[in-house]
């Protein structure tokens, strides 16, 4: 085996180990709190391999996780600690909803493109705020993006209630459904799987080509690995930092637009899903490899689907089963991945 091959095998083993560790600790917690761990294990197994319908339902959840996971992979590879995907996703969905509202009638392709583009723009603007704060005001993005997540949640609530609200809704807390022209087509009706999954899976090889086979991508990685060396090689480090940040936010926003257009079709005042945080675990489990994001997202989507399924189970012992359980697995996977990885994730020198 070549040195590179051996390195890749070790990396794969570490990811599999981290995933298995996450699953095992989660089952241990389930058992420790007096539930039957076999129920959870079975739910997870059924979610992954029960039937095509079940797997399609997992893919439906994996779709936003793949797109946001790719967004974060891009940012982390450039040494940009974007923790704000949650807010960027939310503003992407908000932008898409506004576009869908303004363009209720029109040729389908045009409306759909405008909705997706508005998602890109919403996410880009929100990431842009943090990027500008970092470059021109010296505010660390780790902190600013987290704070912006909290602000985004409230902005979404105000706009949903104030402007986009469906006047016929009883609680004045939801928007009207978007028009048919603004929706992504359904590929597999029994699970509600929509065309967004094609976009999501298609984006992964695109990001790989960008990072590994283009000069721009090479420079992006160089900035992430060592900003000082990149600067000496005349790469405009500051501009790459801002540009990659905005691109990452745009992708996270696109995920929000796809989710609105393909899956939920309307917004609520509390639309935040936690996908933006789960996707951090996805990107890290994939070890910041674009193609690895797909299986990593499917893993977490299967956990999510399995636990959600348990909550709806008719068995009274499982009713109200805590869905936050999946966060235990996410935390363990992150801690295990970072411990099992000898080289530093996201590059050696974080630009200060």
């Amino acid at each position: 085996m070549t040195a590179a091959g051996r390195q890749r095998a070790t990396a794969l083993a570490a990811s599999l180990g981290a995933a298995a560790g996450g699953l095992l600790v989660m089952l241990g917690v389930v058992a420790a709190f007096g539930y039957d761990a076999r129920d959870v294990a079975r739910a997870f197994g059924v979610a992954v391999a029960g039937s095509w319908d079940r797997f399609a339902a997992v893919l439906l959840v994996a779709c936003p996780l793949i797109v946001i996971g790719l967004a974060l992979t891009l940012a982390f590879r450039c040494g940009v600690w974007n923790i704000g995907a949650e807010g960027q996703y939310l503003l992407g969905a908000l932008g898409a909803a506004v576009a869908a509202r303004l363009l209720a009638r029109g040729p389908g392709v045009l409306v759909l493109s405008a909705v997706l583009a508005a998602g890109l723009a919403g996410g880009a603007v929100w990431a842009g705020v943090a990027a500008v704060l970092k470059r021109y005001r010296g505010v660390q993005e780790v902190l600013s993006t987290i704070l912006l997540n909290f602000v985004a949640i409230q902005i979404a609530a105000i706009i949903v209630r104030g402007w986009l609200v469906d006047a016929h809704s009883a609680d004045r807390d939801t928007t009207a459904e978007i028009s048919a022209a603004a929706t992504l087509s359904i590929l597999y009706a029994p699970a509600g799987l929509h065309a967004g999954i094609v976009i999501a899976i298609g984006l992964a090889p695109l990001l790989w080509v960008f990072l590994e086979r283009t000069t721009w991508g090479f420079r992006t990685r160089a900035v992430g690995l060592n900003p000082i060396a990149a600067g000496l090689a005349r790469i405009p480090v500051g501009r790459f930092g801002v540009g990659t940040f905005v691109m990452s936010g745009a992708l996270a926003g696109l995920a929000g637009a796809i989710e609105l257009s393909g899956n939920t079709h309307y917004l609520t005042a509390s639309y935040a899903s936690g996908y933006g945080y789960t996707a951090i675990a996805v990107a890290l489990l994939a070890r910041l490899e674009p193609l690895g994001v797909i299986p990593a997202a499917i893993f977490f989507a299967a956990l999510e689907t399995g636990v959600r399924g348990l909550q709806k189970s008719p068995d009274p012992a499982l009713a109200g089963f805590p869905t936050v359980l999946t966060q235990v697995a996410q935390g363990v996977v992150i801690l295990a991945t970072v411990m099992l990885t000898r080289t530093r994730l996201g590059g050696a020198g974080r630009a200060r």
Partner: protein, 300 residues
């Protein structure tokens, strides 16, 4: 001062206590060169441990002690990853946050179900019934003074600052960098755990999922706003606490628009933090080695 204004001030001071404790705890870790964004989860774990231990033992002080111990344990785990393992501090902190949110969420659901089955509610005894004055508030102020004195007037404080500014030089001078950082992370997180207990046993008498609601992240910002000094952090925490009680004053003023505009009030502390950071962060200087693992022989 009239009584209404006084009660607003008191509520603001109370809101400042968890921020002050958490930010001062984070300050200790950061002065040693560790940035711990896991304090949000640590505070949440402290809030849960405090409520659960107080409910189980019937003593609020027992709860506060348990919260402090749980905080210290999490700090030790953080140090195991970032100091002994030299792993990335940001990623480790994120993992801690998710793990704490998940574990406390599952646990509180189980306890609530248990209480419901017994026909009671999960209400731990409160700190304010346990003593004639606000013990934790007094402790928070005393700890701030203590940290100030320790940091600038003792040998231990000098050692801590030396490790944070130049770990290689400190190492050469015979200081055990790893030991200092591990102790700083542990002591700092103990304070963060106590901050959590104040949420679940002082400000409220219950534990809810995600009840810290970003206070840990605000505390991280307060360390920067307070320029990495205990006195600065104290002033910043008090200011934010008072702004928090202002929120309560403003709420009735919204009148019929409360449903629409209340989210704006909720967003206010975060927007304000960002504005202050934007005007401030560029002009402050963090400890020189902040965020960088110390690798003997690898650093210049």
């Amino acid at each position: 001062m009239n009584t209404a204004a006084w009660s607003i001030f008191v509520r603001g001071a109370e809101a400042a206590v968890p921020l002050l404790l958490a930010a001062t705890g984070e300050l200790i870790a950061e002065r040693s060169g560790l940035i711990n964004i896991g304090i949000e989860g640590t505070m949440l774990a402290g809030a849960f441990a405090g409520a659960a231990a107080a409910w189980w033992s019937g003593s609020a002080f027992c709860g506060a002690a348990a919260a402090t111990a749980v905080g210290a344990a999490i700090g030790l785990i953080f140090a195991l990853w970032t100091v002994a393992g030299r792993r990335d501090q940001i990623v480790t902190g994120l993992g801690v946050n998710l793990l704490a949110a998940g574990l406390t969420g599952v646990a509180v659901q189980r306890i609530t179900a248990h209480c419901a089955a017994a026909g009671t509610a999960f209400t731990p005894p409160g700190l304010w019934e346990a003593a004639p004055f606000d013990v934790v508030m007094v402790a928070a102020i005393l700890l701030t003074v203590l940290v100030h004195i320790a940091l600038y007037h003792t040998r231990a404080g000098l050692t801590l600052r030396a490790v944070g500014e130049n770990p290689a030089a400190a190492d050469a001078a015979g200081i055990r960098v790893g030991m200092v950082r591990t102790m700083a992370a542990t002591a700092g997180c103990a304070m963060v755990g106590l901050a959590g207990a104040y949420l679940s046993l002082g400000l409220t008498r219950t534990f809810q999922e995600q009840m810290t609601g970003g206070r840990g992240f605000l505390a991280l910002a307060l360390v920067i706003v307070g320029r990495w000094t205990p006195v600065g952090v104290f002033a910043a925490a008090l200011l934010f606490g008072l702004l928090n009680s202002l929120q309560e004053v403003l709420q009735p003023a919204l009148g019929t628009h409360v449903y629409l505009l209340y989210p704006a009030l909720l967003a206010m502390p975060y927007v304000l933090t960002l504005v202050v950071l934007a005007g401030w962060a560029g002009r402050t200087r963090p400890p020189a080695s902040l965020g960088a693992p110390y690798d003997r022989g690898a650093e210049a």
